[in-house]
Each structure stands twice: as C-alpha cells, then as structure tokens.
Subunit: 198 residues, 2 copies
C-alpha cells in the first residue's frame, strides 16, 4: 500500500499514523490493533469493501482505549455525546468518544471510517459492510482466543453476517455471565441481526 | 379478604373481578394467574407490602395477554404508548398496553397496581417493592417449572432482590438462546439490579 493512498483519508503518512497509534497504547494492545487491521484488510478483499478504509479503521479503532477516564468524560461532555454513556465506562466510550479524538488528532474525516470505529464495540441496528468488517475483525483477529475461535474464523471466510450474529450473541452471553453492563445499542444489534427484527 | 377491601381499588367485587379475569383468558392461563396472585400475597406478607394491592396486581397482570394483536396495536397507537414497542409483540404489549384496558374495563386506578402490571415482564431500573413482588411471583408461582425453580422459591423466602437478579439474568439468557427479541427495559433492569449500575 502506497503512502498517498493512506493520505486520502488522513493528515498523515502510513508510517506517521502507525507511530501515532503505537504511541497511544501498550505494546499488547498495539499487537491486537495490527491483528485487527490485517484481518480487516482480508475481510475487505473477500467481501468487496474499500480496503484502505478498512485498513485505517482497523488501525485506529482502539486509539482512545487507554486515555484517562477524566479526559474521556471531558470529551463526552464538551461534545454533547450524551451523558447517559458515562456509567458504561471506557469499554463504551472509546468508540463513541474515540472518533472525536481520531478526527482531531489523526485528521481522519471519512464518515465511513469514523462510523465503523463508533460502533465497533456494540454494532448497531443498521451496519454498513465496513462496520461489520471492523466489528468482526476486532473479534477474530489472530490474538483473540475463545473456545470456538477457529470455527468462527472459518465462518468469516464465507459468511460475514453469520459472524456478526455469532459475535453479538456470544458477547451478550459473556456480559451476562460476568454481570457486566450491557449498552442498549448491543441489544439493537441483537434484535436486528440475530432475531431479524426490522 | 372482604369484598370491600377489593372495592377500595376496583369498581368490582372480588367475585366480579375474578369472573372478568377468568373470562378474558384460557383455563391454563387463569391457573397461572391464580398461582401468581397467591404467590404475590405470600411475598407481600413476607416483605411487608400492601397485601390487597399485591393480590389485585397478581390477579390482573395478564389480563390483556390473549387480546387480538389488532386490538392491542390500536390501544398502543390511540394512547400514544410509543410505536417502537410494536415489533416486540404481545409479550411486551400486554403489560404496557394492558394497564389501559385494566383501568378502563376493571376500573383499577391505583398507580402502584398499574405500575406493577406495566413492568411485570421486563422489570425497570427503579422497581418498587410491589413491582418486584409481581415480577417475581409471575416467575416462581406453583405452575412454573424450570431447572432451579425449587431453589429460587427458597431464595424468595429470604431475599426478594436476589430473585429479581436471578430472574433478570436467566430471562435474558433464555431470550438470547432462543433468539427472541429483547426489550430495552429488560437491559435497564439488568444494568441496575444485576450489575449495580446507578
């Protein structure tokens, strides 16, 4: 991939963007990010999405994951992102408020990339192809380990929507078993894609 | 219980109310309703709630469960109950829209009774004692059968809130496994009572 392809969507070269992302997080999370990016590229090629957008969205999806809570809350309040998200913690903030930082600090303004980052943790009731790719890549990238991960990766070679369903269902089951907060948008994703509610 | 105690809260005597409820549903559901009423009375005595209100709420909680869909949708639309509930079906309608029919046809105007019926399927993030009693009674009444039902009934002898948690968690797990629609209020109940979110 050439630098100037990246520069269509960001204010930086590929190397500069990589450095900025790397500096914003732990080594372990950066490995996850590179794995997500790589998986997103594969899925984009396989299912006919814009490969550059998928690559950039994969690279930046967790950009805000390690920001201090105080900074994230300030971003939420100052940008009127809805104070109802505050009790949900950075698991939810880093997508929704993350796009403010990604736009401001990384110069990414493409609405499809930002939208994919915005919904990457919860999905939504109306996911684009690139939304689905980032949602799924984040779940099955090579550093992820869960019981059926090999099967789910094979499923992702043939049917992206089936993985969206599997991921949504199993994410909910895990949150319930671990008694962790469920963000309402995750239920919208479940009702739309698993139940088939219109 | 004397007739005139019932008449504090309804336009009818106890016998008239029983007949009206019985006529509105199948024999099987009426047995469930009587079981729920009996369990609600026990729980009200045990945890210090108003026994008559719990009894009446138990008796009428499923009053609208067997109405035709067309009638329920008309009630929702005409009373501005929020058309977003329409895709969820009568599993959700019969509480929310049910209170309109209960007030109109049974003459019940007590806000605590109506509120308990309103939330009996989903719970809410701010449940009163009587809300919890009807929610739990509906779940553990003698005609209900599920794996841990004996344990849950024993738990209900000592700790109502623990049963609210158990019920919410297991209702969600069942909905997910059966790929059935989840109403957002059920998640509010989970986040408040299982997770402890304020």
């Amino acid at each position: 991939m050439e630098m100037n392809e990246y520069e269509k969507y960001t204010a930086f070269s590929r190397d500069e963007l990589l450095s900025k992302v790397e500096e914003s997080m732990s080594e372990k999370r950066f490995s996850h990010v590179l794995g997500t990016q790589e998986t997103a590229i594969q899925l984009a090629k396989r299912f006919g999405a814009d490969v550059e957008k998928a690559s950039i969205a994969g690279l930046v999806h967790d950009y805000a994951k390690e920001r201090p809570n105080e900074e994230m809350i300030r971003v939420i309040v100052e940008n009127h992102l809805g104070e109802d998200i505050i009790p949900f913690g950075n698991q939810i903030w880093h997508g929704i408020a993350g796009i403010v930082l990604i736009e401001k600090e990384l110069g990414i303004r493409d609405s499809e990339i930002l939208q994919a980052v915005y919904v990457h943790t919860t999905g939504s009731s109306n996911m684009s192809l690139i939304d689905k790719i980032i949602y799924v890549a984040d779940y099955i990238e090579p550093h992820r380990h869960f019981e059926d991960v090999s099967e789910v990766r094979r499923l992702a070679e043939v049917d992206l929507d089936e993985v969206v369903k599997y991921e949504t269902e199993h994410t909910l089951l895990r949150l319930i078993k671990e008694k962790r907060a469920i963000y309402p948008k995750t239920i919208e994703t479940f009702n739309r894609y698993v139940v088939g509610m219109q």
